[in-house]
C-alpha cells in the first residue's frame, strides 16, 4: 500500500492516556472516541485532522494503558498510518489487530508539522517530499504479515476454530 499524506509530529512517550483520556472510555464507539483523539496532548488534532494524515513520533509511542480505544480513535480520525521510532508492545499488537498500519522508523527527526511524506508499507520505504530523503522502516515479522494476509486475528480465530 502506498500512503501519501501530511504529518502530525509528536515527541517520545506519547501515552494512551493522552491519545484517548479515560474520561471518554465509557464507550467503545469509534466515532465518539475520534472526537477526543489526542485531546490531552494536542487540542487542535481532532478539529483539524484530515483523512489520510499520518502521525509521526519518537520512541515508545502508545505507552501505558492497554486500551484498544487508542488505536481505534486514531484510525477513526482518518489517520492512514502511524510511524514512530518505537512502539509500546501492547499498542503495537492492538494497532495490528484493528488494521491500523504502523511502521518503525526515525523519520520524525526530519519532519515538521504538515510536511508531506510518501510511505510504501510493503517495502518499508518512507520518502520525505520536501527534500527527497528516503528512510527505511523495520520489517514486519513474518507471523504478523501472515496474520494480515489471512485477514487479521478474527479470521485467524475462525480458521483455528473451524467456524
Amino acid at each position: 500500500m502506498i500512503i501519501k499524506g501530511r504529518v502530525w509530529v509528536y515527541p517520545d512517550n506519547v501515552d494512551t492516556d493522552v491519545i484517548i483520556p479515560a474520561r471518554y472510555l465509557n464507550t467503545s464507539d469509534p466515532e465518539e472516541l475520534a472526537k477526543h483523539c489526542m485531546e490531552d496532548i494536542d487540542e487542535s488534532f481532532a478539529k483539524e485532522v484530515k483523512k489520510g494524515d499520518i502521525i509521526v513520533a519518537g520512541h515508545n509511542f502508545g505507552s501505558g494503558s492497554s486500551r484498544e480505544h487508542a488505536p481505534i480513535a486514531i484510525k477513526a480520525s482518518g489517520v492512514a498510518c502511524v510511524i514512530a521510532k518505537s512502539f509500546s508492545r501492547i499498542f503495537y499488537r492492538n494497532a495490528f489487530n484493528i488494521g491500523l498500519p504502523i511502521l518503525e522508523s526515525d523519520v520524525v527527526d526530519e519532519l515538521e508539522k504538515f510536511d508531506e511524506i510518501e510511505v510504501d508499507t510493503e517495502k518499508g520505504r518512507i520518502r520525505v517530499l520536501k527534500n527527497g530523503k528516503v528512510f527505511k522502516s523495520s520489517v514486519i515479522p513474518d507471523f504478523m504479515q501472515n496474520l494480515i494476509e489471512s485477514g487479521g486475528l478474527f479470521n485467524y480465530a475462525k480458521k483455528i476454530l473451524n467456524v
Binding site: D17, G64, S88, R89, I90, N94, N97, F154
Partner: protein, 423 residues
C-alpha cells in the same frame, strides 16, 4: 544455553522443548480476563465468531474500573458484561459488594499460581508475575481471541535480570524499589522484555511488595515482570488453600541468557517520589528541597491498595490530622482488604485523621471518578502513572509515591518523608 523462568513458561505452554528470544509461539493460556472498559470489545469478538468461550473456569470478568457505575454509559458497558456472564453462565464474575481491583482480587482469591500463562485486557496484568506466573497485558481483541480459542501468540522476550542486594531502610517498600528501578532504566528501559526481580532483598520482600513491583514493570515498557517462586510464594498460596502439589515451580537456569544484569543495593535507597509527568522522573524524598504543596493524596489502586499498604498508611496517620484544604482519599483494593482494615481498626485511624474511604474501585487512578483533579491541582498518589491528565485536568500534577509518603504528605500538606510526621 539455558532458559529464564519467563522463557520456560512460554516453552511449556507452547509444547516446545525450548524457545529463544525473538521466536513467535502460539501458546495455551491458563487464565484470560477483562474489565468493564475492555470486556465489551472482547465479548463482541466472541459473539461475532458465534462460539462458546474455550473454558468457563479459565476466564474472568471483573467490573472494577467505573463501578459502582459512574454514569449511564459506564452502566451500559457493565450491562454488556453482566448480560454475557448470565447468558453463558460464567462462574468467575464479581458484582459490586464482592468485586475488587482485578490485580488485587485474582491473586487474593487464589486464581494465580506459579507457572501459569495469564493474559488480561489491562496493562497491569504484569502484576501476577509476582507469584512466578508469566502474565502480560493485551488489548481487547487479543483477549477476545484468548476467550474463544484458549490461545495467544507471543514473541519470546529477552530477559533483564535485576539483582537487589542489602537491607531495606525504614519506610522503604516495594514501591520505592520499583520507582528507583524505573528511574534508573527509563520508561522504555525494558521495552518488549521481561523484568526478572531477584536477589537477597527480593527473597526478604513480602508478597504484596512483590505484586507492587511486578505491577509497575509495564511502566518501564516491559512485557512482564516476574519473581521466581520461593517460601514466601508457597506460604502465600497455602494461606489460600493451595498446596504445593497443585502447581509447578519453574526457575531460571544457571546458564540462562540475560540481555542485561543490573545490580541494585537497596541499602542506598530512601523513599522515592516520581515527579510529573513520567514514572521515571524519580527523586529520593530527601532530595526534594522545594515545598511541593498538595491538594489531594490518594492511597489505593492495583499498585498499592492492599492490606499492607493500608497498614503503612495507618502507621503514619495514627493520631494525626490531614492538613487543612487537603483531601485524603483511601480506597481498599478488594472487599477482603476493606473488611480486614475495618477489623484491625484502621478505618477509625483514617476517619479520625479526616480521610474519606471508598468502596473498592480503580476510580481516580485513571481519572475515572472518586477524586478527579482540577486545573492546577497537585496530587500525591500511590498509583502507577503520573501522565498528563491521568487523574483529571491536563493541567494537574501527579507525584507517585508509597502509601507512607502519601499519608505523611497528606498530614504535612506538602510532600515529606514519613519521619517528619512520625516522630
Amino acid at each position: 544455553m539455558g532458559m529464564t523462568i519467563s522463557q520456560k513458561i512460554l516453552a511449556k505452554k507452547s509444547h516446545r522443548g525450548g524457545v529463544k528470544p525473538g521466536e513467535i509461539v502460539m501458546a495455551d493460556v491458563d487464565l484470560a480476563f477483562a474489565n468493564d472498559i475492555t470486556a465489551p470489545i472482547a465479548i463482541d469478538f466472541v459473539k461475532r465468531l458465534g462460539v462458546d468461550v474455550f473454558d468457563k473456569n479459565k476466564i474472568a470478568l471483573i467490573p472494577d474500573h467505573f463501578t459502582p457505575n459512574k454514569d449511564i454509559s459506564s452502566a451500559n458497558q457493565c450491562k454488556i458484561m453482566r448480560d454475557f456472564v448470565k447468558e453463558r453462565d460464567l462462574p468467575n464474575y464479581w458484582e459490586s459488594g464482592e468485586v475488587g481491583i482485578e490485580h488485587a482480587l485474582l491473586p487474593e482469591q487464589g486464581f494465580v499460581r506459579p507457572g501459569m500463562l495469564i493474559v488480561g485486557a489491562d496493562s497491569h496484568t504484569c502484576t501476577h508475575g509476582a507469584l512466578g506466573a508469566f502474565a502480560t497485558g493485551m488489548g481487547s481483541t487479543d483477549v477476545g481471541f484468548a476467550f474463544a480459542t484458549g490461545k495467544s501468540w507471543f514473541r519470546v522476550p529477552e530477559s533483564m535480570k535485576f539483582v537487589y542486594k542489602g537491607k531495606r531502610n525504614k519506610w522503604v517498600v516495594g514501591k520505592d524499589l520499583i520507582l528507583y528501578t524505573i528511574g534508573k532504566i527509563g520508561v522504555a528501559g525494558a521495552l518488549y522484555k521481561s523484568m526478572e526481580f531477584t536477589g537477597d532483598a527480593i527473597r526478604e520482600l513480602p508478597m504484596e511488595d512483590r505484586l507492587t513491583m511486578c505491577n509497575m514493570a509495564i511502566e518501564a515498557g516491559a512485557k512482564n515482570g516476574i519473581v521466581e517462586p520461593d517460601d514466601v510464594t508457597i506460604e502465600y498460596l497455602k494461606e489460600r488453600g493451595i498446596e504445593e502439589d497443585q502447581y509447578e515451580i519453574l526457575k531460571s537456569e544457571g546458564d540462562a541468557e540475560y540481555s542485561d544484569v543490573i545490580e541494585i543495593d537497596v541499602s542506598n535507597i530512601e523513599p522515592q517520589v516520581a515527579f510529573p509527568h513520567l514514572p521515571s522522573n524519580v527523586r529520593g524524598v530527601s532530595e526534594i528541597k522545594e515545598d511541593i504543596k498538595i491538594d489531594q493524596a490518594f492511597i489505593g489502586s492495583c499498585t498499592n491498595g492492599r492490606i499492607s499498604d493500608l497498614r503503612e498508611a495507618a502507621k503514619v496517620l495514627k493520631g494525626n490530622k490531614v492538613a487543612k484544604y487537603v483531601r485524603l482519599i483511601i480506597i481498599p483494593a478488594t472487599v477482603e482488604v476493606y473488611r480486614q482494615a475495618l477489623k484491625e481498626g484502621l478505618f477509625d485511624i483514617f476517619l479520625d485523621a479526616g480521610a474519606v474511604i471508598s468502596t473498592p474501585t480503580c476510580g481516580p487512578c485513571l481519572g475515572g471518578y472518586m477524586g478527579i483533579l482540577a486545573d492546577g491541582e497537585v496530587c500525591v498518589s500511590t498509583s502507577n502513572r503520573n501522565f498528563v491528565g491521568r487523574m483529571g485536568s491536563k493541567k494537574s500534577f501527579i507525584y507517585l509515591a508509597s502509601p507512607a509518603v502519601a499519608a505523611a504528605s497528606a498530614v504535612a500538606g506538602k510532600i515529606v518523608h514519613p519521619d517528619e510526621v512520625v516522630k
